[in-house]
């Protein structure tokens, strides 16, 4: 039995009161609920406040470049499909710098879980607008207010028929950790967009702002009904539904490639040599 202690306790570099602490708890709880040992799990992150999370628990970790957690996670999963691969980063990382990888991940449906700490701001670089910042959001870099409208990751993932699409809230750890457990156990690409208060730079979408709006999805919401899901995804922000919004059973990418849990890292030298000799025969 895996316990919380297996995942350790570390000092962090986050601001006191940051929503990231709750997300870290939810992640650890989810891993324990899913009975996954640290050795089985690989966290891949980008750069940002969110992306520091994997340093604060015991697991395999690849903390890469800003915006690039998904491709690293994809390569890792393809090399060793036996690993549970979790990509973890901020809204800027995934929907800004890494937006193209997000789109491709939706199409690929590889069996990794993406946890986006969506604080609607660039935290680590001190508070510029992020792709999910509200229109008009005022920052030092956007003194006239953010001129763009926010990215809607849930809606985009849903219309792209991503395998598993959920929204969580850092203010409800129990619920969030359940979502993460489901996301991990879903075979295919799973997105959990996590509403996260940033006490230092987002004075609009604060803890209480989120708290007032977040509503758990109705028990009779059917996540396999894409129309219902889209309805939820496109809802205005006076009520923000949290929970599993959309889900399907598209075969994961690995199946289409015929990969087993072993994956390419496990082929022996003899097999490789035989294949090589056979391959050469076409060149004579």
């Amino acid at each position: 039995m895996v316990t919380l202690a297996d995942y350790g306790e570390y000092e962090t570099a986050w601001c006191p009161g940051c929503g990231n602490f709750a997300i870290l708890n939810a992640v650890k709880q989810a891993l324990v609920k899913a009975d996954l040992a640290p050795q089985q799990v690989l966290f891949v992150s980008g750069i940002g406040q969110a992306a520091k999370l994997p340093h604060y628990l015991n697991a395999n970790v690849f903390n890469g470049l800003h915006g690039r957690s998904l491709p690293v996670a994809t390569g890792a999963k393809l090399a060793n499909p036996g690993l549970v691969v979790i990509a973890e980063s901020g809204d800027g990382c995934n929907y800004g710098e890494g937006g193209n990888h997000f789109l491709a991940a939706l199409r690929r449906n590889i069996d990794i879980t993406l946890l986006v700490h969506d604080n609607r701001v660039y935290g680590l670089t001190k508070g510029q607008a992020s792709p999910t910042s509200p229109e008009g959001f005022v920052t030092k870099a956007q003194p006239l207010g953010n001129p763009s409208i926010p990215f809607n990751p849930i809606a985009v993932a849903t219309v792209m028929k991503a395998g598993f699409v959920a929204r969580g809230f850092a203010g409800d750890v129990e619920h969030l950790s359940d979502l993460i457990v489901q996301a991990i156990s879903h075979r295919g690409f799973s997105l959990v967009d996590i509403l996260q208060p940033c006490v230092s730079f987002n004075k609009v979408n604060t803890f209480s702002w989120f708290k007032e709006r977040c509503r758990k999805l109705d028990a009779n919401h059917d996540p396999t009904d894409i129309h219902a899901a889209l309805e939820v995804a496109m809802a205005e922000e006076d009520e923000i539904p949290i929970g599993v919004i959309y889900q399907n059973d598209r075969p994961p990418f690995e199946d289409k490639l015929g990969l087993t849990a072993n994956g390419p890292v496990k082929t022996g030298e003899t097999e490789r040599r035989e294949a090589f000799e056979k391959i050469l025969s076409a060149y004579y």
């Binding site: 690989l42 395999n60 390569g75 890792a76 060793n80 491709a104 994956g263 390419p264 060149y283």
Partner: protein
Amino acid sequence: MTSINLCICGEAGQGLVTIGQLLAKCLVRAGYHIVVTQSYQSRIRGGHNAFFIRVGASPITAPVGPIDLLVPLNEESIEIHRGEMAADGWIFRDADYGMDGDRNLPVPYASFGGGIYVNIAAFAVTGCLLGLDTSLMEGMVREAFGKKGDAASEKNLSVLARTVEWAKNLDIDFKGLPAPASPSRRMMVNGNEAIALGAVAAGVRCGFFYPMTPATSIILTLIKHAREAGIVMEQAEDEIAAVNMAIGASFCGARSMVATSGGGYALMTEGVSLAAMTETPLVIAIAQRPGPATGLPTRTEQGDLEFVLHGGHGEFPRAVFAPGDVTACFALTVKAFDVAEASQGPVFILTDQFLADSYRAVEPFTWPEATGNPAERDREISPEDYQRYALTDDGVSPRAFPGQSGALVVADSDEHTEAGHITEDLRLRPRMVRKRLRKMARIREAVVPPVFSGDASPELLFVCWGSTMGAVEEAVETLRREGRRAAMLHFSQVWPLRPGDFMDTLESAEKVVAVEGNATSQFARLIRRETGFAITRHVNRYDGLPITPGFILDGIARMGKGV
């Protein structure tokens, strides 16, 4: 004649590459040597493409200019190449084209089958006049078209037979080639295929790419064999994704590679730096084309050397191989994977469109016994206190893989502790910098020294790197036949350089000429930076075409009396 330079040409989409490949393979099977040069445009149909096969009974290593035999598949081709014909060159052309003048053979293609069968007929006429066995050609046609159902194969064979019949009775003074020496069994492979086969031999497990000419066929060759060899190949959404995927896969223990050209590499440089910081082996094959920007996407150049030497922010070790021919493409790719693994960082294979597309007859590639997993330190891992970036004497830390031992593996793009965790410890920083740089020693030990050939005490020494090797070799031979003391110093590894390997040679030569497929003599600058030795004479080509022996000789001639 010691070699024949054959040019099959016409529009894109006319199938001239197929004829070229079939013919080239027959020639290889018959025991000849070949140097193929593919000339094509950035379009799918129309325009003007050419497939040059230079063929010789004894070894040849370079493309040449003058055309001995032109096989035009459209009338325009004759106009385009007329000026390049050798004095005694022949044009084998469709009898329907209006043309007069000497040394052109009207071929009644329509009478052999016409339409789509013109290609087979052209193949047959050319093969016949080059002296190929009919049975060899028949076998080739059967192999190539057998799959399409017997009917197609039979039709092609009958066109072949009819054409051969006609060609046999010709009486023209086209000089064929002497029979080659008793033919050993050789492969026909181009530079890109050789890189792919080298990767297979080295045990590549994952390859990632975004299509980009002229690198794409490295990838397509790997894909062709991926199932058989158990390799995972994935087309990424962009080059940034490709390089990061490769790093992710490599981190998990899979030998991984990417292949691209200059523009794609530009997008990968941040990833190169990531591989260096996380100490993840990564093999990057770059087939150069003329830049800047989109440039001439289907042409050749050696203009990205300095960018490859310095791409990626921050300071870290790397190795750059620049194979001189197809055989070296294979061998150095195997080596690239080993060096990447030994130094736990990025290693480059730098070629260009000319070599990428140049088919040659090569001795069979062999399984590299010595390769496999040189990361002998993996065995020392103790899961409890495993540290990915343990500070070691030679800078190389034991490498464990996630989920493959009890050890938890932590890698970080930030400056990190030995355990792999982000740190702001500024006393640790310089130790980590030095640790990473110490790995250069491993790379340096394994350097492939430059190859010297020609006159032992040359008055004229050509320095070159990468795909220009063959052209320089032949230019040297010609000069020596003319009585000059000429020699070549060819670098198939351009970084790092070990001056001890070549300074004596450089310094003892009376005159040194750098031959490079670029405009700014990048390699000569590197030599100076590393050794202080200034090369002042240069042959540079940057019109998109490969350097030929003739181009070098002309360059020398233009330098005047002194050289």
